[in-house]
Amino acid sequence: MTMLEVKNIHKAFGELQVLRGVSLDLDKGETKVLIGPSGTGKSTLLRCINQLTPPDKGEVWLDGVEITDKSVDINKYRQEIGFVFQHFNLFNHLTALKNVSIGLEKVKGIEKEEARERALEELKRVGLSDKANQYPAELSGGQKQRVGIARALAMDPKVMLFDEPTSALDPELIGEVLEVMKSLAGEISMLVVTHEMGFASSVANEIIFLENGVVVEKGSPKKFFENPDKDRTKQFLSKIATLYGDSGDR
């Protein structure tokens, strides 16, 4: 069943048209990865989905409900979309534990104790139960991001959106975050914007190549890396191989 349907999204910032009619959908348990050159609207697309940036045109349907409809209370549906930020955006005045539990307490109205326990479980799931009482400033980048993931997961979302989750991390910290993300694949529907081709090829059900605000090509990882249709795709992939030294081979 289709969890997320994105239909024909357009978005412009002033004169600059960033998204020109992008569509995709995500079934339950699927993992799809968005790749493409920087500044082509990948992050913008994610932000249009949970309306952090409202799209100019187009629709977004979450589990059969059109959330771009004006009459809908977007806050209610944001609870069902987990968002992981490139720069973590952990709440600086709260401990890791409180960061995870605050959504449960204040948005879902769950009892303090119950929220706390649930938060501890999520932290355990990302391997950080011993850091529960640390503040974001005391955590490494990788740890911060894992808390960010735990915070999003705690809300029991239907879909998880990852906006370049490892781009702001030192190389040696990337692995721990990708591990967590891999463990989620299959359990929860995920849409990931990333440059990590290794992750994409091993975990994604489909890879979507976005450039200049349109979808250039989409396909399974195998198809994508070994035998892409479009020239543009081939060009991009070869550049990535030079940069990252990873052509997607397993």
Partner: protein, 227 residues
């Protein structure tokens, strides 16, 4: 003789203590009032809520551009022209509060603006409404970020209570002045004593506020403080 001078000074302490109490009263009441007003005004301008934000802008400019002494004199001398009186102590309270509110509005606005946009986005992404987000995420951080600026303002208000002497409020400075008139041979010693008392108070208050600051400081960023 030194011992005799010290003895006389010692005997002045009760009266000075009386003045000090007024100083404390003025400082604390006007600070509290100014903080409440300052937070509100800070938010109004940071969130650009028309047309109130413009009034706040004008208010800040006016109350920071006119000397406190003039504000005191206006509050005390002008109302009778309009048929009512503000008594000295209330005039002093009002003057200190109104002026401090203008500076605190700036402090809080700076704090609000220095909270990264990402905090707002993260709160939204969890499904928080504007009210909840401000209440649980923005405001706690704003208050913590404002502590250094607020502490600075505290000592400024404390020291500026001395200006209330000009409208006859019997705070510490005025008590010292009254004593100096009575004991005109040791004027220097009296004012040195007054200075010492102020210094001890300011020093102590600063130490306490530093302690609080350390406890609540959020590692990550600081807000610039103006005098």
């Amino acid at each position: 003789m030194l011992a005799e001078t010290l003895a006389r000074l010692y005997n002045m302490l009760p009266l000075l203590w009386d003045g000090l109490q007024t100083t404390f009263l003025l400082t604390l009441t006007s600070l509290v009032a100014a903080t409440i007003a300052g937070v509100v005004m800070g938010f109004l301008r940071a969130y650009n809520i028309f047309p109130l934000s413009y009034f706040v802008y004008v208010y800040e400019k006016v109350l920071r551009g006119v000397p406190l002494l003039v504000i005191f004199l206006i509050l005390w001398l002008v109302p009778p022209d309009f048929g009512f009186r503000i008594d000295r102590l209330h005039a002093a309270f009002l003057g200190l509060a109104l002026r401090s509110a203008a500076y605190q509005a700036q402090i809080f606005r700076g704090a609000i603006n220095s909270i990264p946009r990402g905090q707002v986005e993260a709160a939204k992404s969890l499904g928080m409404s504007r009210t909840k987000g401000i209440q649980h995420i923005i405001l706690p951080q704003v208050l913590r970020l404002s502590i250094p600026g607020w502490s600075n303002e505290f000592t400024i208000v404390l020291k500026d209570t001395s200006i209330a002497l000009a409208i006859g409020v019997t705070e510490l400075m005025r008590r010292g002045d009254q004593l100096a008139v009575l004991h005109s041979d040791i004027v220097l010693e009296i004012f040195l004593l007054v200075a010492l008392i102020y210094f001890i108070i300011v020093f102590t208050v600063n130490k306490i506020l530093s302690f609080i600051e350390e406890k609540f400081r959020m590692k990550g960023y600081e807000v610039e403080v103006e005098r």
